[in-house]
């Protein structure tokens, strides 16, 4: 369903989702077209855009978002600049972290993503910390920690959730289940992953994570409840693994997404056809917007504008300088002594 907001706001959400999709496609193309540009493996957010964007739509600039090794989408969703994200992914001096972080640890403190861990479950307790700080400071800021189904296999999940509940921390445990783990075989003994928070008396909600309207409505409710002091709350948003994510190095197995497939899925390459037809949050949303009377021409124009912007961002990244080698020794300590 469509989110219950103005047409302009609906389109703004589409714009952010497309920005993530196009930026991630550039990320994969960096790896495919330039040997060694991305130094090692990486992960993309394709297929999960509806959750990050819809949740962040309800957050303020001073709310905290924590993410994972799959961080590019969350940073952009929180308001991050795709230029600085793409530049960081390829280790440029103009990136969010001056090339120190790379694809796995993109942090953008200026938009509330103060630290990013690529260790599975690495940010769960840290998110408890920013929530606790907000509680101590009596600020209205809340914290959302995004994580995948795999993080629930980690011990820190249990400890962080338990303390969050005991201290009633203003935070949302937002699990994006992309079935990356459970799809490969049993990673967790629980029949339903929500049974784990339920055992600690943390209220849970399970939703379809590819439907913008559902995610947006749920996020509105959960965010406002946590802001009122009803935290912590737990959400499981179910998404469907994008076929290109089935590898350690993502591949554009069907090429870049052509939004024309929203109207005629048979045009999509066979390898990705079913996914785009049934599980792609962006094409799903486009069909709904078209159904509500927004012309195909207007939607295509919006996509073209976003593509132009992300193409420019990719060029910016590629043309940006690498950091000066001696900068390696900077920032070990805020204090002076080494």
């Amino acid at each position: 369903m469509l989110p219950d907001i103005s047409r302009d706001k609906q389109l703004a959400i589409l714009r952010r989702m497309l920005m993530i999709r196009r930026a991630e496609e550039h990320c994969i193309r960096f790896n495919d077209e330039h040997t060694g540009l991305i130094r090692g493996h990486f992960h993309v957010y394709i297929g999960q855009e509806a959750t990050g964007v819809s949740v962040c739509d309800w957050l303020n600039a001073d709310d905290y978002v924590f993410t994972t090794h799959r961080n590019h989408g969350h940073v952009i969703a929180k308001g991050g600049d795709p230029k600085k994200v793409l530049a960081e992914i390829i280790g440029r001096a103009t990136g969010y972290c001056q090339g120190r972080a790379g694809t796995f640890h993109v942090a953008a403190p200026e938009v509330g993503v103060i630290h990013t861990s690529a260790i599975v479950g690495g940010c769960l307790a840290l998110a408890g910390g920013t929530a606790y700080a907000a509680q101590v400071k009596e600020s209205k800021a809340i914290t959302v920690v995004f994580f995948g189904d795999g993080a629930m296999e980690e011990g820190v999940f249990y400890e962080a959730l338990n303390i969050a509940k005991l201290w009633q921390l203003p935070m949302i445990f937002w699990m994006e289940n992309n079935y990356r783990r459970s799809g490969r075989g049993a990673g967790h003994a629980a029949t339903e992953l929500t049974n784990v928070p339920k055992a600690l008396n943390v209220e849970t909600t399970v939703i379809d994570g590819i439907d913008v309207g559902t995610v947006h409505k749920t996020a509105k409710d959960i965010v406002s409840r946590v802001r009122k002091g009803e935290g912590p709350l737990f959400v499981e948003a179910r998404t469907h693994l994008w076929p290109g994510n089935a590898f350690n190095m993502p591949k554009l197995v069907g090429g870049v997404t052509d939004i024309a497939w929203a109207w005629d899925a048979s045009k999509a390459p066979e390898k990705v056809r079913d996914w785009h037809k049934d599980h792609d949050p962006i094409l799903n949303y486009l069909r709904e917007l078209a159904g509500a009377g927004i012309s195909r021409g207007e939607l295509e124009k919006l996509d073209a504008e976003v593509s132009q912007e992300t193409d420019a961002a990719a060029r910016f990244a590629l043309e940006s300088p690498l950091p000066d080698a001696k900068a390696a020794l900077n920032y070990a300590f805020a204090g002076k002594g080494i």
Binding site: A127, G128, G129, A131, N162, G335
Partner: protein
């Protein structure tokens, strides 16, 4: 004032002024200070949390809170308990400032009681100072006297923006010592000569300082005048002061209560070999713990503890 009371006094002094200071499980004061601790806990009840037994959880929360502008002080209690939180301390707190290109500070303090406490056995006698020192991004503070403990804690709480591991040796906690009146700071990265001498430099950390001073007293009776120098902080490290002392004496013995292999003494020895080799008239000598888990029974534990007598014997051999 005891070592434990000195820590408590420093925190009290700063916390009164700075509302960003919050405390997890504060138990600093040792046996002697339990009444003062009770008063402290009452005074700061609103800013104190007693978390569940969940080190990776509450250490991570403290780190996240520091990133968000608080200045948490976490009493880990026994240092080996911090091993449960290594992923958060080493792989999040220590790297955040560097990873973010200087944007995200983590001014958190992890206080821990370390070392051979007497009957701690294999799991409660740990000395992880060299592990943490081998982690860029962590400040390592290990004072030997109540006066240094108070002044260093104040500096860490008021001036530092980096994550700090603050080591107090279990056997020092109830040690009495003179503490200057009023407010004062001991700077980080400034070594202190605890006893001047000319024949051999003894670099000693934490509990090894009183042991080295006792050894120096014995050595003086043999006509060997040892200089005892306490780095007080390993990170930052006062290399010039250590090298100057070695230059003066030409001999150096390094003693610390971590294990020999890749221990603190080994790390300091490497620096002196690299940068002070031409000052040396004898090989560098280490007195630390042999590479075995610390055993329980008295004779076994005594055998591996770097007592004053071992320092005396090693210094005599160096000065032959």
């Amino acid at each position: 004032m005891t070592f434990g009371e000195a820590l408590l006094a420093a925190i009290d002094e700063v916390a009164e002024q700075d509302k960003r200071i919050v405390l997890f499980n504060p138990s600093f004061a040792g046996e002697a200070g339990h009444e003062k601790l009770a008063a402290f806990r009452k005074k700061y009840a609103a800013r104190i949390k007693f978390p569940p037994i969940a080190e990776i959880g509450f250490c991570g929360i403290a780190i996240g809170a520091a990133m968000a502008g608080l200045r948490p002080v976490v009493d880990i209690s026994t240092a080996t308990f911090s091993y449960e939180a290594i992923p958060q301390i080493v792989n999040e707190a220590a790297i955040a400032y560097s990873n973010s290109g200087g944007q995200t500070n983590v001014p958190v303090v992890f206080y821990m009681k370390f070392g051979i406490r007497g009957g701690g056995g294999v799991q409660h006698s740990g000395s992880p100072q060299s592990w943490y020192w081998n982690t860029p991004g962590l400040q390592i503070v290990m004072p030997s006297t109540p006066a240094d403990a108070k002044g260093l804690m104040r500096t860490v709480l008021t001036k530092s923006e980096d994550p700090t591991i603050f080591f107090g040796h279990d056997r020092l906690l109830d040690d009495l010592g003179e503490v200057p009146d009023g407010v004062y700071e001991v700077p980080l990265g400034k070594a202190d000569i605890k006893r001047a001498g000319k024949d051999v430099t003894i670099i000693a950390t934490s509990i090894q300082v009183p042991r080295a001073l006792a050894a120096a007293e014995t050595l003086a009776k043999d006509g060997i005048y040892a200089e005892v120098i306490d780095p007080r902080t390993l990170q930052p490290l006062d290399k010039p002061a250590l090298l100057a002392s070695v230059k003066k004496t030409g001999r150096v013995l390094i003693t610390d209560e971590s294990h020999d292999n890749c221990g603190v003494a080994a790390g300091l020895a490497a620096i002196i070999a690299d940068e002070g080799f031409t000052s040396l008239r004898a090989p560098i000598k280490r007195v630390s713990i042999p590479p075995v888990p610390v055993p329980y029974a008295v004779p076994l534990e005594d055998y591996v503890t770097p007592m004053a007598q071992r320092i005396v014997e090693a210094a005599r051999a160096l000065c032959k």
